[in-house]
Symmetry: C2
């Protein structure tokens, strides 16, 4: 009994100490684990909040972009533009969003005219919706998306330069078409371009949006777009318009900065007049601009605030087309 | 003895356990401490490596800049320019680096023509040195420095815009005069401007330096400049040139990116011809450009490598002077 009694305190003390230290060690490990989780993520991907599923990170996926072009009733323009865009430097793949519901994709003709520089995927849509182009396509392998309207021709030089600019501003929409909103004393917002009054921050003009119909942006934003309030989809479907305004709201909310970076194009053309289909784009509808002002105000309601911010930064390519564009008396 | 004997194992076991757990706890605390140190620093100050002594951080010190203007033998130009620059928006103070050794500063005249919008400090120099303007002046209270040559007139609009650009790129030299280096097959570098061959990265031109004689940069770089190899000071003193090239090397090394951001000036003028002194600037010396190529190669030796990087980003102000500068067919 002595023996038993004598071991007991040691063992009890040992056990208590053991328990205590185990708890302390576990607590410290949890703290260490939490701190590790707070360490900055690897800087390669500058967008830690976008929960993009990991895909095979080939070298090309980082240094190239995917062209997403939605098309409706302008197949002649589409094919003309594809001949141009399929050869742009750093292009990884083309995704054609086929809004011609019920009409066969020109896959046979496309293949018969191969080989082609890059893969071109035709995504058949079941409903003709403006926001079809904002799906998170599984074929998308690159971090960068170039989105183009199917009637817009931008030169290869402009695109190569704008892509290099996007690589320096990957969280922004880097593109060729700036727009702005202004607020009025009544609190109602208006949408427009240069014709609208300047927002009044110093001299010159400001822009608060860059339209996605001719722009580069991070593919993670397509993933983000799938997680927006239902009211946003309803608005875009109701107007068949404003998906680009919605994207600018999304990006501005995400970054807390101006959503876009405007790159002044040297050569950008609208080929609308050249189509045989006789179809003219949505922006010819009488109510188009009013609709977009309407969208701005609806989105402010949906997002409970105005996240768009102004910028007056205009980027051009140094010494292109020629060095005269930067020569001065110095 | 039973008792003594029975306590001993318990106490020994307890002590061993205690020691062991103490060691474990200390190790875990050290690990936790190390992890905490790796947490990202507060993002307000984007330059965590510059050991700038904390000064009173008034609101104006963050939203304004200090003009540093060195002057030699052109007091008439200096005074003409001071009338202009003293009224630039967001200017906090002017520091005139008086290289007219032995000559009285025009303080009496300056005061008699007061009041002035901002304080102007005349720093009398004992030796006429080019690098006098790169001292870490105690009068400097702002994060931003605007450095101007004493014969250069830049419009208030350009300066206000460039300052706003600097605030978005605070680790860069944001200014109006781009230059570049090129490498040759022999490994020898050359210095120049648009007349030199393009470095060959795609089309258009590139720049790898922005001259500090008309530029904004972070005041922390003046502090950094005091800690450069002696050979750098010797080079600048030997040539009475190249302090700006040295600053570009310093900034490029610090950031690992292009040192400068070029803002295309709307109105920049060289007033050299207007001086009564008959003194024409250093850049008129026959050997000026050759000297600068010489400096590039010497600095590469001193820093054991070429840190300068190319950029082709040219920034202009959106819609200024008028909105025609961004209108296009879209």
């Amino acid at each position: 009994r002595h023996f038993h009694f004598c071991k007991l305190p040691g063992r009890v003390m040992g056990i208590r100490l053991l328990r205590f230290t185990s708890v302390v060690i576990i607590v410290l490990l949890l703290v260490a684990g939490a701190l590790t989780a707070l360490l900055p993520t690897i800087k390669d991907d500058k967008m830690p909040n976008l929960r993009r599923e990991p895909k095979a990170q080939s070298q090309s996926a980082l240094d190239s972009f995917t062209l997403i072009m939605q098309t409706y009733n302008r197949t002649d323009l589409l094919l003309k533009l594809l001949n141009h865009y399929q050869a742009i430097p750093h292009l990884h793949k083309v995704i054609v969003v086929w809004n011609n519901v019920g009409e066969k994709i020109p896959e046979e003709m496309w293949n018969s005219l191969g080989p082609h520089p890059v893969p071109v995927v035709f995504k058949v849509q079941t409903v003709n919706r403006m926001r079809n182009r904002l799906q998170n396509f599984p074929e998308l392998e690159t971090k960068a998306v170039l989105m183009m309207d199917d009637d817009t021709l931008v030169s290869a030089h402009d695109l190569a330069f704008a892509f290099s600019v996007w690589q320096q501003f990957p969280e922004h929409i880097v593109g060729f078409v700036p727009r702005k909103h202004i607020s009025t004393p009544s609190g109602v917002y208006s949408y427009g371009s240069f014709e609208l009054q300047n927002p009044g921050f110093g001299n010159g003009d400001q822009y608060s949006m860059v339209l996605i119909g001719a722009a580069f942006f991070h593919s993670g934003y397509l993933e983000d777009f799938q997680r927006q309030p239902e009211a946003v989809y309803a608005l875009i479907d109701e107007t068949q318009n404003c998906d680009d305004i919605a994207m600018n709201f999304l990006v501005a909310k995400h970054t807390g900065k101006p959503s876009g970076v405007f790159v002044k194009p040297v050569d950008i053309r609208n080929l609308e007049k050249d189509t045989n289909s006789g179809y003219s784009g949505m922006w010819h509808r009488a109510e188009h601009l009013l609709q977009r002002s309407y969208c701005v105000n609806k989105l402010v309601n949906i997002y409970d605030g105005m996240p768009l911010k102004y910028s007056n930064i205009m980027i051009s390519q140094f010494g292109f087309p020629n060095y005269a564009n930067h020569k001065n008396k110095m």
